[in-house]
Amino acid sequence: MSVLVYVENAEGKFKKSIFEAVSYAKAVANQLETNLVAISIGNVASSDLENLGKFGAEKVLNVTNDKLKTFVNQAYASVVAEAAKKESSTVVVLSNSFSGKGLAPRIGAKLEAAVADGAVDLPSTDGGKFIIKKTAFSNKAFAFVEMNSAIKVISLTPNSYKIEEVVGSANVEEFTSDIKDSDFKAIIKEIVRATDKVSLPDAELVVSAGRGLKGPENWGMIEELADLLGAATACSKPVSDADWRPHSEHVGQTGIAISPNLYIAIGISGAIQHLAGVSSSKVIVVINKDPEAPFFKVADYGIVGDAFEVVPKMIAAVKSLKANA
């Protein structure tokens, strides 16, 4: 028996969400009184692989096959499923990233395993059951999913589980598997990644703005505040619909759901569809000139005021806070 965690890398490096997934998987392994094995696919430095021991991995399976250098979900699913069989894994954990979403269901279908997507907490294993809490109805609720299959696949929502460091170093072993050509029909032509910006799904801090900003030319102060805080930028649906900002920044029911530590909403009224995407943020700040804006009802902090006056002052305050730090 074992718990297997797939450690996704982005250009050879592990992001914070991966350490969260390893810590989470370690806690599940402790619950089940078994070992934690990690599997990495692609080129990651062996020191980074050994370092996974600090988060609880005892062993790391390292797959370095050249054909698997870039992510192809079909082939990666075959490799992870094979590792799960070889390690007699009863639980497979992944991060619920964009790639994880393409991978977890394929692994589940291969292993006839139930898949809990977007888990936000450890499983409850009382009475021999295995129940996972996940967000549902676009963050308006949580569902508790009982998993009845012999093997369970869990994808963890980023920023929902605390990284726990332990003492240890992981043993890295090469892992080879038979991969079939039919797993490589999808061919990646190009990868475009803005590396200088914080990506929205991973962001701990998010600065978001809506129609209250009146036009795309006014986003300079939003970007400046975000840059100062090391935050990602986001927007409401009307803003991305009007092409003021790209669709990838749209948070809400038909955009993406996020759960950062801080969400600052500027000039966004807080329609129910928007709230759905951000309601699991830990701290919500609302800046809006309309005191009746529904967003204030779900906010922790707020300022009733004009964004064009308030935001520059916030920028100045963050600058002076940093200068005095």
Binding site: I187, L262, D300
Partner: protein, 246 residues
């Protein structure tokens, strides 16, 4: 001639206030308006664009009981050629994917589209599960889909960017915003939807892998702490020393 299958689900309207009954074990459907899942509508719109000018057919498939038929008719009104309803409640993503795979496996569809996720359970699982069950490629969240002969070029969303991928037919893709604009059915579409074929197929037997046993609504936040508009420095100070978020 392109043959496209679009998988659709019947979900509560985006403005729905979510509540539960039966000691929080059941979604309260009282007074809830059900609609075609918005992401599935994007898939359907793109499928219709790709088959315009008699260039192919678009079949919509739904796993649902008879109550979902108005939603299926809406898809036909938007422009689908025909429809299939698998006569069963959609138990979980695996169950739905198995039902659709059982139907699709002998039908030689070139392209199978789903929305990136349904807005009720938000699993984003059916596309990739279907790909696995049919042993064909799948891409889960795409923002662009162009067809060239017997292959397509898609853009997959990744953290902070995108991947451009070429894939030969057949494959499964889950569509997100950017793939197409939502289409509003016209009068002719609405009239013709009544007579378009809607086949009802009985489900195949599928092992139950998961059950939703309980729901919970998020704990409401305390009252908002308002800071004077003349003093945003105070807000930054509170975020720093009280909320400790930076």
């Amino acid at each position: 001639m392109m043959k496209i299958l679009v998988c659709i689900s019947n979900v509560p309207d985006t403005t729905t206030k979510i509540t539960f009954t039966n000691e929080n074990t059941q979604f309260n459907t009282a007074g809830v308006q059900f609609v075609l899942n918005p992401y599935d509508e994007i898939a359907l719109s793109r499928a219709i664009e790709l088959t315009e000018n008699g260039n192919g057919t678009v079949t919509v498939i739904n796993v649902g009981e008879i109550s979902t038929e108005p939603t299926i008719r809406k898809a036909l009104a938007i422009g689908a050629t025909d429809a299939v309803r698998i006569n069963a409640a959609p138990h979980d993503a695996y169950y739905v994917a198995q039902q659709i795979a059982a139907y699709a496996k002998d039908q030689s569809f070139d392209l199978i589209l789903t929305g990136r996720e349904s807005i009720d359970y938000n699993g984003a699982k059916v596309a990739a599960m279907l790909g696995e069950l049919l042993d064909i490629p799948s891409v889960s969240i795409i923002k662009k889909l162009d067809v060239d002969g017997n292959a397509a070029t898609v853009e997959r969303e990744i953290e902070g960017g995108k991947e451009v991928i070429t894939i030969p037919f057949p494959f499964v893709a889950g569509t997100a915003e950017g793939v197409a604009e939502w289409k509003i059915p016209n009068m002719r579409g609405i009239m013709s939807a009544r007579t378009k074929p809607l086949a009802v197929v009985e489900p195949v037997e599928v092992k139950t892998l998961s059950d939703v046993v309980k729901f919970e609504t998020p704990t409401p936040r305390g009252t908002v702490k308002l800071v004077d508009a003349a003093d945003p420095e105070k807000l930054i100070e509170l975020l720093h020393s009280e909320a400790k978020v930076f």
